[in-house]
Symmetry: C2
Subunit: 285 residues, 2 copies
C-alpha cells in the first residue's frame, strides 16, 4: 500500500475532470488527478464547438488548450496513469494503476463514455482468465498460451513484457505502426468478437476462427464503469448518480459523459464542479 | 391571448438562461428568451471567477461580456420583460408580463436565487391584496388606499401609474435616487417587515408602525419560484428537479441557481444545456 491517503482522487482528463480538479485545487484539498490524455484527445478531435457559453465557435483543439492553460495557471499537475480498478475499503478507496496503487478518501469518476464496446463475454470473464493489467497478472501465465488485444501503441511495452513470460502469445495490435518483435508472438489483425468459456476463459473467437488460450489481456485506455468499480450501479452503461453526483457507493462520485446524455462539454464541466463540491462536503463529515 | 405559440420560453438571463438559449437557437427551435438584465448584473458584480473551466481568472464583467457576445454572434435577441406568472393550461403555458401575455409549449425557468427574502406574509397573501403587477391589478384599487414596495428604479413608471389610480399611496422606494412626485404619495423609507391580514391583506407593518391598506404592490425583478408558478414543487426555496432538469410539472424545466447549490456559474451553464435538450426531447413527443 502507498502511505499517502489523498482527500480526493479524480479519474479522467476531460472537461469534467478538469473542472473537478480546478475546484479541488481552489478549495485547498490534497488531491491526485489521473489523466491519461485520452479524454482531452476526444475534445481535441471536435471540429467546432458552438455551445460552450462564453467561448463561441471554439475549435476542439483550442478548447483543449484553454482547459490545459487553466489547470497550468493553477499549478495543477496530472498523473499520466491508467486506473484499472477502484476498490472501496474501510471508508476509503484503493486505486490500482498497473503495479502501483494509490489511496484516497473520496473518488470522482470522470471516465467519459467508452466509444469501444466491450467484447462479448469481456465483463463476465474479467478476473477469470481476462485481465486489464499485464504487470499485475502477467506472472500467472508463465510458459502458458495467452492472447493480447491492444488498442493503443503506448501499451507495446506491456505486450513485450507478456511475451517474455508466456509460452505462446497471440497478439491483436489494433493500432497503427505496431512493432512486435518477440519470436513467440503471432500477430492476428482482427478484433476479438467473442470470448468463449464457462467458468473461465477457454478460447478467443476472432470471427473466422478460435484460438484456445489460458488467458487474455485487454490493454486499452477506457474502461466501462462496471468493470472499474465492483458493485457500482450502472444503467444502460451509464453510472447512476443523483443531483449531487453521488453514486450508490459512499464517497464515490461521478461526472461528465459517464453519467449519461446529453454528451456535452458544458454539462461535463458543470457536473465536475458539483462533484468536487459534494466530495468536499462528504470529507467534512 | 397572443397568437404565436413558441416551442420554448426561457426565463432568465444568467449563465443558465444563456446556455439554454444558445442550444435552443442551434437546434432551430422557435423560442423566446426573457432576460431582464438582473441576472447578468449579478455575474457582472463578481470580482474574479477562478473556476469557469477554460477561462481562468476572468472578471465577472468580462464573463458577462463574453456571454453577451456569444448570444449576439448567434443572432439571439432577448425580450426585456419581467414575467410575473406562469400558468400551465392544456399542454402549453401562458406567461404573464404586465398586461401582455405569451404562450409556449415548454418553459425553462432560470430564475437564479432571490437574494431578497420575501416579506413575512407575502406568499400567502399574494392574489389576496398583494400583487406583483401594477398594470394587471392597478384598476382594482381606484380611489383606494394602497402601499407600494419597490426595489428597483426601473419600476418608477409603475409607481406613477398606481398613484394616478389610487386615492392614497404609501410608497417604500428602497433604491437609490427615487423621484416620486405624485401628491397623493407618502414616502416611507423602510422595508415592510410583515403583512397583516387573515383572508385578505389589511395592513402593512413597517416595524415601527402599521398602515392600513386595501392593497400592496411589490415591484421587484426576482420572484420566488413558488409564487411564479402555482403548484411547482419547491424545497428550501429551490425548485425540485431531476437529472433531466424536469420539474414536477410536465413541459416545465429549471436550471441554474434556482435548482439549488452549489451556486456556480459553470453548474448553471451546464444545467441550461441539459434543460434545453430535455425541452426539445419533450417537444418531439
Amino acid at each position: 500500500m502507498s502511505e499517502q491517503v489523498y482527500d480526493i482522487a479524480i479519474i479522467g482528463g476531460g472537461p469534467a475532470g478538469v473542472s473537478a480538479a480546478i475546484n479541488a485545487k481552489i478549495l485547498n484539498k490534497n488531491f491526485i488527478w489521473f489523466s491519461s490524455g485520452a479524454a482531452s484527445k476526444k475534445v481535441e478531435r471536435a471540429e467546432l464547438i458552438k455551445n460552450y457559453p462564453a467561448l463561441p465557435d471554439i475549435t476542439g483543439k483550442d478548447l483543449a488548450k484553454a482547459l490545459k492553460s487553466h489547470t497550468d495557471s493553477l499549478g495543477i499537475e496530472s498523473v499520466n496513469e491508467i486506473i484499472t480498478g477502484v476498490y472501496p475499503a474501510d471508508g476509503s478507496f484503493s486505486l490500482l494503476a498497473g503495479s502501483k496503487d494509490y489511496a484516497a478518501k473520496s473518488v470522482i469518476l470522470c471516465l467519459g463514455v467508452e466509444t469501444q464496446k466491450p467484447v462479448d463475454g469481456e465483463e463476465c470473464l474479467l478476473g477469470r482468465g481476462v485481465s486489464y493489467c499485464a504487470t499485475c497478472d502477467g506472472f500467472l501465465y508463465k510458459g502458458k498460451t495467452i492472447a493480447v488485444y491492444c488498442t493503443d501503441k503506448r501499451f507495446e511495452g506491456e505486450i513485450e513484457f507478456l511475451c517474455s513470460i508466456a509460452g505462446k502469445v497471440y497478439v491483436a495490435p489494433l493500432y497503427k505502426g505496431y512493432e512486435i518483435k518477440a519470436e513467440n508472438a503471432e500477430i492476428i489483425l482482427k478484433k476479438p468478437v467473442k470470448l468463449v468459456g464457462d467458468k473461465r476463459l477457454a478460447a478467443v473467437d476472432f470471427g473466422d476462427g478460435q484460438v484456445e488460450v489460458d488467458g487474455l489481456f485487454i490493454l486499452k485506455s477506457a474502461f466501462s464503469p462496471a468493470t472499474l468499480v465492483h458493485g457500482l450501479e450502472v444503467e444502460d452503461g451509464h453510472i447512476v448518480v443523483n443531483r449531487k453526483m453521488e453514486t450508490n457507493i459512499k464517497g464515490l462520485f461521478a461526472a461528465g459523459d459517464c453519467t449519461g446524455r446529453p454528451y456535452q462539454y458544458i454539462k461535463a464541466a458543470g457536473e465536475g464542479n458539483v462533484a468536487a463540491h459534494s466530495a468536499i462536503e462528504y470529507l467534512s463529515k
